[in-house]
């Protein structure tokens, strides 16, 4: 792969950069690999970093090159992503991927109906946020390739997100990626589907064909890479047309696990803006809830964007729960405990649900047609809601699975 005189650079540098690095590769005529390392951890990891670079040079077939690495405490998965991106810039036809080993703590799989109360958005090209996100125990962590990544950084972000999916401990959180709008998003799939993703969020969905297209690509890539685990889709409704077609979108494929809504784009699309009261989006949100429930999947609310307003967040979660949503987007870890707390069933709800379920089972085993608790008649929908509350209580660790 030698082509002297070629030079490329990538990554981030500057006073405020942390956990990232800047890298330059220049192909030279001869004299082998020369590595210049400027790192705040040189005395601790200098040798290891140089070994890593040498190994990558070998892998990509670089024989003569000058490599300059300005390191701000980047971990190996970051250095790899930046290096590979620089190589891809030099040789656009490169198709080889330098895949780091999987983190052994990330073997867990997901399920279609697991808890999705909170999902924490992280910008896909900012590695410093990745490492500790799972410690805050969100139900899901979204590595975002779409709006939070500048157009020129998309290629770099894909490699970083791929490495993060493989190498970072997510501490039990569901591993999610928001891909770009189609068709760009289809390229994203090549990097994430083979590498340990649980849920793919599809932005700006306006018709079921988009979901089907993503699903077809996911199935193809899974087949090509012999991936057995389920990968779920979560379409995001962000426009008037999307709202109108929301049921068809939700029902488009069996791998949909949830339907969610993005209100910034939606309110812009209908020519208004977001208010705290939220009247302008009431129709859209209830449409999304109904479309999701009609298709048997979860309804997940938009993000709450004022990270300083915890009381506002609380009210917003209480409202979302009352509308039928089961989760909400978070843009800061401090939002997670509040989101969890107010999506949980209350102790009163749980107690009531227990009584109803017990009475229902008692009536069934005794062959009674009519169920009553005290003087109140209990009919089928009430039982269904009580069973749902019990399920949520168990998932939230508020009730033992064998509570009866």
């Amino acid at each position: 792969m030698d082509n002297k005189g070629l030079k490329s650079s990538t990554g981030h540098r500057g006073e405020k950069i942390r956990s990232d690095c800047y890298i330059e590769i220049e192909i030279t005529k001869s004299s082998g690999i020369n590595i210049e390392l400027k790192s705040k951890v040189a005395s601790l990891y200098g040798a290891e970093i140089k070994n890593q670079i040498s190994a990558m040079c070998g892998f990509f077939g670089l024989r003569n090159a000058k490599i300059f690495l300005e390191d701000y405490g980047a971990l190996p998965f970051v250095i790899e992503a930046r290096f590979e991106h620089a190589v891809n810039n030099l040789f656009p036809s490169n198709e080889r991927e330098y895949l780091l080993p999987y983190n052994k703590n990330n073997n867990y799989i997901s399920s279609k109906d697991r808890l999705r109360r909170s999902r924490l958005y992280l910008p896909g090209n900012e590695p410093k946020f990745f490492l500790n996100a799972g410690l805050h125990k969100p139900d899901g962590i979204i590595l975002d390739l779409e709006d939070s990544v500048a157009p020129l950084e998309k290629d770099a972000a894909r490699l970083l997100v791929r490495n993060a999916l493989r190498c970072i401990d997510f501490y039990g959180s569901e591993r999610m990626v928001r891909i770009n709008q189609l068709p760009l998003g289809l390229k994203d799939l090549e990097y994430i589907v083979p590498n340990n993703v649980h849920v793919i969020l599809i932005p700006k969905c306006e018709n079921p064909d988009q979901v089907i297209e993503v699903n077809d690509h996911v199935l193809r890539i899974k087949h090509e890479n012999n991936i057995k685990n389920d990968i779920y889709l979560m379409p995001i409704i962000e426009s008037a047309l999307g709202v109108i077609k929301s049921f068809k979108i939700a029902a488009a494929v069996k791998s949909n696990c949830a339907l969610t809504i993005g209100l910034e784009d939606y309110t812009a699309d209908i020519g208004t803006h977001r208010t705290i009261e939220g009247k302008e989006s009431f129709f859209a949100r209830t449409m999304v809830v109904n479309a999701a429930k009609a298709s048997g999947i979860q309804a997940i609310d938009t993000v709450f964007s004022d990270i300083a307003d915890m009381e506002g967040l609380k009210q917003s979660v209480i409202e979302a729960k009352s509308l039928g949503f089961e989760g909400k987007g978070c843009i800061h870890p401090s939002q997670i405990p509040i989101v969890h707390k107010y999506f949980e069933p209350t102790p009163e709800e749980i107690e009531k649900a227990k009584k109803i379920v017990l009475a229902f089972e008692d009536a069934q085993s005794n062959g009674y047609g009519v169920i009553s608790i005290g003087s109140k008649m209990i009919d089928a929908p009430v039982v269904k809601r009580a069973q749902q509350t019990i399920r949520m209580a168990v998932l939230n660790n508020l009730l033992d699975e064998n509570w009866k």
Partner: protein
């Protein structure tokens, strides 16, 4: 330089700067008794009857004080990074052609980078105090003529009383003073809160110069420094940059990870049963240390619990505790923001303390050991719970010891630290520099888990059913190494000790060696 192994297994020299050194012998094993230093005895008739000790300028005062080559000059860090006076002082000393000064500050700040040229040209021989930022780098690279000595705030008092350091001239920056030399830190444009760090100097130095930018008619009250100990008073236009003396307002950390640590700290103090009516705690100024106060406050309010006293580093957050009736007193060692200064000025229950009352090994008891729980930081903690506060894992000196060593004597000392910082592991096999023996460190709280020292069986028992992520310290280290990699050993030059870390009793706990050039 002859090195021997002390009882902590650290290599330390037996002599530096032509002074004999005693190796660390173990916690509370060495008791340097006997009267080795005495305050100078004067007669009042030798001082102006009208009480006016004003001298035209600092140079004049230094001349009157008999400044000579090789003397020890002390200063204090209550002006923090806003300190103009110390830099100005050494400009004058340099101008007078004086050499080989031993500078004995209570701490140094980045603003003192100005003094590097005087370390280079021999005006200053070495520093006994803290070597922060640029001075730390200079020292670690082996450029200082003498060997630096790091002491705790309490250890500074002890060193004077044991005659390790005889102060020839103390220069005390006084935000307010009168012509007799009475001084305080709570009034004036350069108000810094308290100035208790200068107490020992005012008592034991041969000559004491008070420098103020707010001269008031006698009497200056309150008098944290008593004029009866003062030789000369100098008026200057400005002591420092007031915005850097105390911050306008201190803010808690916004880092989600630091907040998580702070929340764990508060939960631990609560669940361990430490948080009960009449308890006491120490809080510092770091972001995590401020944040835990807020979480603890919520828990105190919820359970209707009130503290008897809180030790600061005071900030607006401690002031709020006092004003909301959640503590009876603040015993303040250092004031970090304007609210702290205001409170100390106005509230009789906001008490100024000194290293003598709080930390001194030679006191007949001190406050540090009365405190129920102290929450502190560290740059490194090892699997034996030994901790470092002065250098980073790259071997460079970065911070002073402050009151940190002294606070380890509290009933429960908690180190609240991230498990690593930007690939620099904090929880490691063996600390680069030993500043606090593990036997005094009870709990280490990181974002990845909480380790209780196996010596604290009581805490382990009481926390057995906690929802907190209690782990062994080795488990946390393993996790850190699995993320960052195992760090390689530092390449240090064992032939060159650049600084010593003293324990609170004056013995040598560890050495800082020159780093090998790569």
């Amino acid at each position: 330089m002859k090195l021997i192994k002390n009882s902590a297994g650290r290599l330390v020299p037996t002599e530096v700067n032509s002074q004999k050194q005693i190796p660390f012998k173990g916690v509370n094993k060495y008791k340097p008794l006997g009267t080795k230093a005495k305050p100078p005895i004067r007669t009042s008739v030798d001082y102006p009857e009208n009480g006016n000790k004003n001298v035209r300028n600092l140079k004049e005062a230094l001349k009157k004080a008999g400044l000579k080559n090789g003397m020890t000059i002390s200063t204090h860090h209550h002006l923090r990074d806003g300190d103009i006076l110390t830099n100005y002082l050494f400009d004058i000393i340099h101008e007078m052609g004086i050499k080989n000064i031993r500078w004995f500050p209570s701490a140094s700040f980045p603003v003192h980078e100005h003094l590097i040229k005087y370390l280079e040209d021999g005006t200053i021989h070495h520093i006994e105090g803290s070597m922060n930022g640029p001075l730390g780098k200079f020292t670690t690279e082996g450029k200082m003529k003498g060997t630096g000595i790091l002491r705790s705030h309490g250890g500074r008092y002890q060193a004077v009383q044991d005659g390790e350091v005889h102060i020839d001239i103390a220069v005390i920056a006084a935000p307010t003073a009168d012509s007799f030399g009475n001084a305080n830190g709570v009034n004036g444009k350069s108000a810094s809160g308290l100035i208790g760090f200068a107490l020992v100097d005012s008592e034991y130095a041969d000559k004491v110069i008070v420098v103020t930018d707010n001269l008031v008619p006698f009497p200056c009250v309150p008098w944290q420094i008593q004029g009866n100990n003062v030789d000369y008073v100098v008026q200057v236009d400005s002591l420092g940059n007031s915005s850097k003396i105390v911050s306008g307002t201190t803010e808690v950390t916004k880092s989600p990870d630091r907040l998580l640590i702070a929340e764990y700290v508060a939960q631990f103090i609560d669940e361990a049963g430490i948080m009960k009516n009449g308890f006491s705690f120490q809080a510092g100024s770091g972001g995590t240390n401020l944040a835990f106060v807020l979480y603890l406050k919520e828990r105190m309010k919820k359970k209707g619990i009130k503290a008897r006293f809180v030790r600061g580093g005071s900030t607006k957050y401690l002031v709020q505790l006092l004003e909301e009736g959640l503590t009876d007193y603040i015993l303040d060692g250092q004031t970090f923001d304007l609210e702290g200064v205001r409170s100390m000025r106005e509230n009789p229950n906001h008490i100024n303390t000194s290293p003598f009352t709080s930390y001194n090994f030679h006191g007949k008891g001190n406050f540090a050991s009365i405190v129920d729980v102290a929450v502190l930081g560290a740059t490194e903690v090892d699997i034996k719970f030994n901790a470092n506060v002065v250098s980073h894992s790259d071997g460079y000196l970065l911070h002073g010891i402050g009151g940190w060593q002294n606070c380890l004597y509290s009933k429960c000392s908690i180190l609240a630290v991230p498990s690593f910082r930007d690939r620099i592991p904090v929880i490691i096999d063996k600390v680069t520099t030993l500043c606090g023996p593990g036997e005094l460190i009870d709990v280490v709280i990181t974002e990845r888990g909480i380790a209780i020292n196996p010596r604290r069986k009581d805490l382990i028992k009481v926390m057995a059913n906690s929802s907190l992520p209690i782990k062994s310290i080795k488990e946390i280290r393993d996790e850190v190494y699995s993320i960052c990699g195992k760090p390689s050993k530092l390449e240090i030059d064992h032939n060159k000790v650049v600084a010593l870390v003293k324990w609170v009793d004056g013995t040598v706990l560890d050495s800082i060696f020159k780093l090998k050039k790569k």
